[in-house]
């Protein structure tokens, strides 16, 4: 295999960092748009790990799963943005804590 050869461990480290960043964003952000963006980051960190693993073992499966994740993410964004619009319409805010109607 030609070209740049990055060790797998480095890529997995980047992937984990991305996942942690996404997770932190999910935990601390209140704006729904940022929550969706954090989700994208987490999805992409997983996709990166798949691609890297597929390249490492010379298997096409990792790239296939990457395509799947890409599709799922696109669909998710489509639905998520629809929800964002509705939330804005209903609650006049994008703050998820204010949209809480449960009384638990």
């Amino acid at each position: 295999m030609d070209g740049l050869n990055i060790p797998l461990n480095h890529i997995l480290l980047v992937s984990s960092l991305l996942f942690a960043i996404g997770m932190m964003g999910l935990m601390i952000r209140r704006n729904i748009i940022f929550i969706l963006m954090s989700l994208e980051v987490m999805l992409n960190s997983a996709a990166l790990a798949f691609v890297a693993a597929g390249a490492h073992w010379g298997q096409p499966d990792g790239q296939i799963v990457f395509m799947l994740i890409l599709t799922v993410a696109a669909a998710e964004v489509a639905v998520g943005l629809g929800l964002v619009l509705q939330v804005q319409k209903r609650f006049k805010t994008l703050d998820m804590d204010h949209a809480n109607r449960m009384r638990g």
């Binding site: 997770m23 999910l26 935990m27 601390i28 929550i35 998820m96 804590d97 809480n100 109607r101 449960m102």
Partner: protein
């Protein structure tokens, strides 16, 4: 004629049904005619049947149909007619008719006129079934029927909750006796295989020796039923409270007929009691104890109806004494004369209460002698008969009882002495009533005198109370004749003299006031004794502590359903957990994520701690 005796209970029953269904739409006159007429018709039929029977005194039986057939148990709806039945039926329909007539005036302003006569007619029908029944099961039907009617009539003025209480008390206390009696019937059927009274007594005489234990138990159970119905010790507490009903009801049910059902039951089954001398001894002892207890209590009461109620208990005690010593005829004879003079006294008191704005306290009456002459003479004659003054009806019957009690071997003279004490007390309390109510200064003015519908029954009963002692009741074939010999003459003279002494004492104490008893009454012992007797020997208090309160305590405990507490605990635990867990459901997504991450970290750490080789 003889085949038609079933018409006698049927007519009042039909009238009762008519009044129940259509009573509210009938005019008052029609209600009166139906209610009184049906009993009058029954009385006429009884009279014709009685005359027929006297001409040919052969007991007969009329079977209408078989009530039910279960194996060998086949009680019929059948009536048995003999001299004893005739006496009872005459009292029920005859005195009943007079009391119905009296009621039309007593109750004329009452709203529930039709309901009153419906109940009263139903009572007469049930009582007739009781005395005519050929087997003990049908007798029991009548027995319970009169109990229900008594309940309905005691609580007749149901808007006052105290009357409802009295009615329930009457029903429940008699129920204790009735339960024992039902057990007695079960025992008799298991042992003898039949409940037909005549056949049963015959089989019993073949099966059991005198003194047999099973016979004793059966007789004691029947006695318990009789004690409940006839208000004897220790189940007498309901009768004074039952005076909450209208006064004619007290006269008919709680003096003349229903309360004597126990006496009738024992007399009817005397063949069984003869097999159990101990049971007869118990009857005599209960009778004499009740007589004395009730007489002392009656001496202290101030409510005119309560005096008469305790007097009734006391007189039924005499009947029990008679039955206990085997003086069956004398007991039934006293039942009949007592029905006359006690109905007279109750109706007289009803007239007073009616004309004196429902006043019951004898110390608020007085001087009624000139204002209500008919009632005064009724009371004079009734009290004289009650006190057993010579030549009145009560004299003949009570004298017979005392003389036969004296002749009883063993404790006879003691029973006689106690009976004499009872007779003395009876004379004192009955004439205390007369002197306080009718003599002295008037305290309340009557607003009217009795009308003819009250005066006629009073007059007729006066006549019966005077001459009733000369009747010869046709029971010589029913009961074995007693020993013909008479005790010494002095016994008889003493029996005659004692009531006269009592009347004299009452005269000196309550009329002229020459005999001062205030000193004795106001002394410490006198006061205590007075309170004790006034409260009826504290028996109500005792029962309250012994039965009523523990019962309330237990039901109070059970009201909160202690068994359910176990299941309640499970529910409480679940609810607590639910409470805790539902607080975790905040609906905030960030909170969920944080807790998930935190949980994951904790779990991973734990897993790595346990098995580090995974890394």
């Amino acid at each position: 004629m003889r085949e038609l005796i079933w018409l006698i209970p049927l007519i009042p029953l039909l009238s009762s049904v008519i009044l129940m269904l259509a009573g509210s739409r009938l005019p008052r006159l029609m209600i009166g005619i139906t209610g009184v007429g049906s009993v009058g018709l029954a009385a006429l039929l009884t009279l014709t049947t009685g005359l027929n029977f006297m001409a040919n005194p052969e007991p007969f039986q009329v079977t209408l149909w078989t009530w039910m057939q279960v194996g060998s148990f086949a009680p019929g709806v059948a009536f048995y007619f003999d001299g004893l039945t005739l006496v009872m039926m005459s009292v029920i329909t005859g005195v009943g008719f007079l009391i119905h007539l009296f009621s039309t005036e007593f109750m004329e302003r009452d709203e529930s006129y039709a309901r009153y006569f419906a109940y009263l007619n139903m009572f007469v029908a049930a009582m007739l079934v009781l005395v005519m029944a050929d087997n003990l099961l049908l007798l029991y039907l009548g027995w319970e029927g009169v109990g229900v009617c008594s309940y309905l009539l005691v609580g007749f003025w149901y808007q006052n909750s105290a009357n409802g209480q009295a009615a329930r008390k009457a029903f429940i206390v008699t129920r204790i006796g009735d339960t024992a009696m039902a057990l007695g019937l079960f025992l008799l059927f298991t042992e003898l295989g039949t409940l037909d009274i005549q056949a049963m007594v015959g089989i019993a005489n073949e099966t059991w020796q005198v003194g047999d234990n099973v016979a004793l138990i059966a007789c004691l159970l029947l006695l318990a039923g009789a004690v409940g119905k006839s208000a004897q010790l220790p189940l007498h507490t309901w009768l004074p409270d039952a005076m909450a009903g209208p006064t004619p009801v007290s006269a008919l049910i709680h003096a003349a007929t229903m309360v004597t059902a126990g006496v009738y039951l024992i007399a009817r089954t005397h063949g069984l009691f003869l097999l159990a001398p101990e049971a007869m001894m118990a009857v005599a002892i209960i009778g004499i104890a009740t007589t004395l207890m009730a007489a002392f209590t009656a001496l202290m009461q101030s409510d005119i109806k309560r005096i008469l109620a305790y007097s009734t208990i006391s007189q039924i005690g005499y009947m029990f004494l008679a039955l206990g010593v085997g003086a069956w005829t004398a007991g039934i004879f006293h039942l009949m004369t007592h029905a006359f003079f006690k109905a007279l006294l109750f109706l007289g008191s009803g007239a007073i209460i009616h004309c004196l704005h429902h006043e019951h306290n004898i110390f608020k009456m007085g001087g009624l002698r000139t204002r209500m002459p008919v009632t005064f003479w009724s009371f004079m004659i009734g009290s004289a008969a009650l006190a057993a003054l010579p030549m009145t009806s009560g004299f003949f019957s009570k004298d017979q009882i005392l003389l036969q009690a004296y002749q009883m071997p063993g404790m006879g003279p003691w029973l006689w002495l106690a009976g004499l004490l009872g007779a003395l007390l009876t004379a004192i309390y009955s004439f205390r009533l007369v002197f306080v109510v009718f003599f002295g200064a008037a305290k309340t003015e009557p607003d009217k005198d009795t009308g003819w519908r009250m005066a006629v029954p009073l007059t007729v009963l006066c006549g019966l109370s005077l001459i009733g002692g000369y009747f010869i009741i046709p029971v010589q074939d029913v009961f074995l004749a007693g020993s013909g010999d008479h005790p010494a003459h002095w016994v008889e003279y003493v029996s005659i003299a004692v009531p006269l002494v009592g009347v004299l004492l009452a005269y000196l104490i309550f009329h002229t006031g020459q005999l001062k008893v205030d000193g004795v009454v106001n002394s410490k012992v006198g006061q205590t004794l007075r309170q004790f007797w006034l409260s009826g020997w504290g028996i109500d208090w005792l029962y309250d502590r012994l039965f009523v309160r523990p019962y309330y305590a237990i039901s109070g405990m059970l009201k909160s359903e202690p068994v359910d507490a176990v299941y309640g605990l499970i529910v409480a635990i679940n609810q607590t957990f639910n409470h805790w867990l539902s607080r975790a459901q905040t609906g905030r997504m960030r909170w969920y994520i944080v807790s998930m991450v935190f949980g994951l970290v904790v779990l991973l750490t734990l897993a790595l701690q346990i098995s580090p080789e995974v890394l």
